[in-house]
């Protein structure tokens, strides 16, 4: 029995309160432990909007060892949550995935240093130590923002497997890369003073992260199912955008007990993200070509993309990496 999604346990043949047709199971692979990036999904689940679309949603637990991209491209999940960088990397290694919606309209990630460190702007990062998480494009992005701010772009990089805030507190690294809506808010709740440098303010083209993804094969084989899935999902995010406080409550309630040992920052985090899910007057999830060319081209050029054998990849058909066809009008 699946317990992770806390959904009523049921198979495709069992029926619910409003039986129209037998439910089809859709598996969703998460990119991280449940957080406010995922609120829309949990809201839609809570409101039974997936059932209304004839879908029994099954949320696969996050695994730091198996990316959602792998699960999606191998057909073990129907949809997943990932990021622009990963989608580009998938294409480069020949296991393409396609972004079918942007969860947040603008990149909310930032570099962060302790306020007490005296690092006031990106060029102060020269000669400092960066706590990396192991992605190939990190160095290119860091040196770009330093140079953009008039620095030389020299820094030391250590790849860490620990929580970025903890790493900062250890004073063993000087700066890390975080999401403002997640770690940024969390730091505030723990009384940590951070100086944050949002990447899009320092010469990095805006891009989507995180995104919903599906495999090209699934898009071809069951577009209708994906369409119905995205319809319910979009409804969820739309609701979360307009009912931040209630949605945070739903997230807490729908996730397994213990997921948020200290839920106090959920409200703030949700408040922040609800404002970023969509631009005013624009439907949630839509993606623009600009975002799919600026940043991806930059990391391609900077040597941040490698093929399956570790060789640099310098060009890709970026337009095939996303689609708006499942965002209904």
């Amino acid at each position: 029995q699946q317990r992770g999604n806390n959904a009523p346990a049921q198979s495709t043949t069992t029926t619910t309160t409003t039986p129209k047709q037998p439910l089809t199971t859709v598996k969703l692979a998460l990119d991280w432990t449940p957080n406010t990036n995922h609120t829309g999904v949990y809201v839609a689940m809570n409101k039974k909007w997936y059932q209304d679309e004839g879908i029994n949603l099954q949320i696969l637990p996050y695994s730091s060892n198996v990316t959602p991209d792998v699960l999606v491209s191998n057909g073990k999940a129907d949809v997943g949550i990932s990021s622009t960088e990963s989608i580009v990397a998938d294409a480069a290694v020949g296991q393409p995935t396609v972004s079918i919606a942007a969860i947040v309209q603008h990149n909310t990630s930032a570099f962060a240093a302790l306020a007490s460190s005296g690092i006031k702007r990106p060029r102060d990062l020269d000669g400092k130590t960066y706590g990396a998480f192991g992605a190939p494009y990190e160095n290119a992005v860091v040196s770009q923002i330093i140079k953009h701010d008039g620095g030389k772009g020299n820094f030391k990089s250590i790849t860490l497997d620990i929580d970025p805030l903890q790493a900062l507190q250890s004073h063993r690294v000087d700066f890390v890369w975080i999401y403002q809506g997640a770690e940024g808010i969390q730091a505030k709740h723990e009384g940590m003073q951070l100086n944050m440098f949002p990447v899009i303010n320092y010469g990095i083209a805006d891009y989507y992260t995180p995104n919903f993804i599906a495999s090209p094969a699934a898009i071809k084989a069951k577009p209708d199912l994906l369409h119905r899935f995205m319809k319910a999902t979009a409804r969820g995010y739309e609701y979360a955008r307009t009912h931040a406080s209630e949605s945070a409550q739903i997230l807490l309630q729908e996730t397994p007990k213990g997921t948020f040992p200290d839920p106090s920052y959920l409200q703030d985090s949700q408040q922040y993200l609800s404002e970023h899910y969509a631009d005013p007057g624009r439907r949630w999830g839509l993606q623009d070509a600009a975002a799919w060319h600026g940043y991806p081209e930059f990391i391609l050029k900077a040597g941040g993309v490698k093929d399956a054998n570790g060789k640099n990849v310098t060009s890709l058909d970026l337009n095939s990496l996303y689609t708006n066809q499942f965002i209904s009008s």
């Binding site: 699946q2 317990r3 992770g4 991280w32 432990t33 696969l60 637990p61 695994s63 730091s64 060892n65 198996v66 792998v70 699960l71 191998n74 073990k76 929580d163 805030l165 903890q166 507190q169 250890s170 969390q186 723990e190 397994p256 007990k257 213990g258 997921t259 948020f260 040992p261 200290d262």
Partner: protein
């Protein structure tokens, strides 16, 4: 258990309490930041407060551990016997077994999840993979150091290879086997935790992971306490079983 036996645990108790005390004081004195290393008291309270949640995870992890350890035991014994068949088999298969111990989870995890999903199976596989190796090595070393004189005696009786194994070599290797099993039992719980890290809907590993990613280090430590207790129980269980299964060997130990 008699009072006297209980009293035997006195030193363990004293040591444990003093260590906890030092730990508590060191953290309280601010020598270590409490968000990195919570105090024992804080851990105890967290354990108490979250017991209902933790309990469910504990049951799941225990189940995976015990099944995996049982399989590993059988597999380990079987492989030791196989490797013992001939120098050739040993040369051929041993490198494979060693290689199996060097595969990191990054490489194994995707295969496990794709092939076996998110249920019990992948965790049991990880536990088995963690545990069979010490059993094979220890048991094989035990088999290989059978007294050659005893082998000659059995040979003179025209005992078959299997009879020699069954009557002399395996019983003689049992102390070594239990030595390996003790190591395996200790690793088994950790194996389940790692397996749950890879992919789980339930279990202490999952609990640690979610706790860690919300920076709730005290809950991570609460889960570690449970993990340690489970490991100690399994280790103790192995020793008890050894005492029952090898009365002749136990006696030597006690007489000392």
């Amino acid at each position: 258990m008699t009072l006297k036996r209980l009293a035997g645990y006195g030193p363990a108790f004293v040591l444990a309490v003093s260590l906890f005390l030092i730990w508590e004081l060191v953290v309280r004195a601010g020598l270590v930041a409490s968000n990195l290393l919570p105090t024992p008291v804080a851990i105890g309270r967290a354990l108490y407060d979250n017991w209902d949640v933790i309990f469910g995870h504990t049951v799941q992890t225990s189940l995976e551990t015990v099944i995996g350890l049982l399989i590993a035991t059988l597999l380990g014994l079987g492989l030791a016997i196989l490797l013992d068949l001939s120098e050739g088999v040993k040369r051929a298969v041993y490198p494979l077994l060693i290689t199996s111990q060097t595969i990191p989870m990054v490489a194994l995890a995707p295969l496990l999840v794709i092939w076996f999903g998110f249920e019990l199976t992948p965790k049991i596989i990880v536990v088995t993979l963690y545990c069979f190796f010490p059993i094979v090595v220890a048991c094989l070393d035990g088999l290989l150091s059978t007294d050659p004189q005893l082998m000659k005696l059995l040979h003179s009786m025209k005992a078959s290879r299997w009879q020699t194994l069954w009557l002399v070599r395996l019983p003689g290797a049992m102390p070594s086997f239990f030595s390996g099993l003790r190591i395996a039992a200790t690793y088994s719980v950790t194996g389940a935790i790692v397996g749950e890290y890879v992919a789980a809907q339930q279990g202490l590993g999952l609990y640690m992971k979610t706790a860690a990613s919300s920076n709730a280090i005290v809950l991570v430590f609460a889960a570690i306490v449970i993990t340690a207790v489970l490991s100690l129980l399994l280790f103790g269980l192995v020793s008890v079983i050894e005492g029952i299964a090898l009365p002749w060997h136990q006696r030597q130990g006690r007489k000392r």
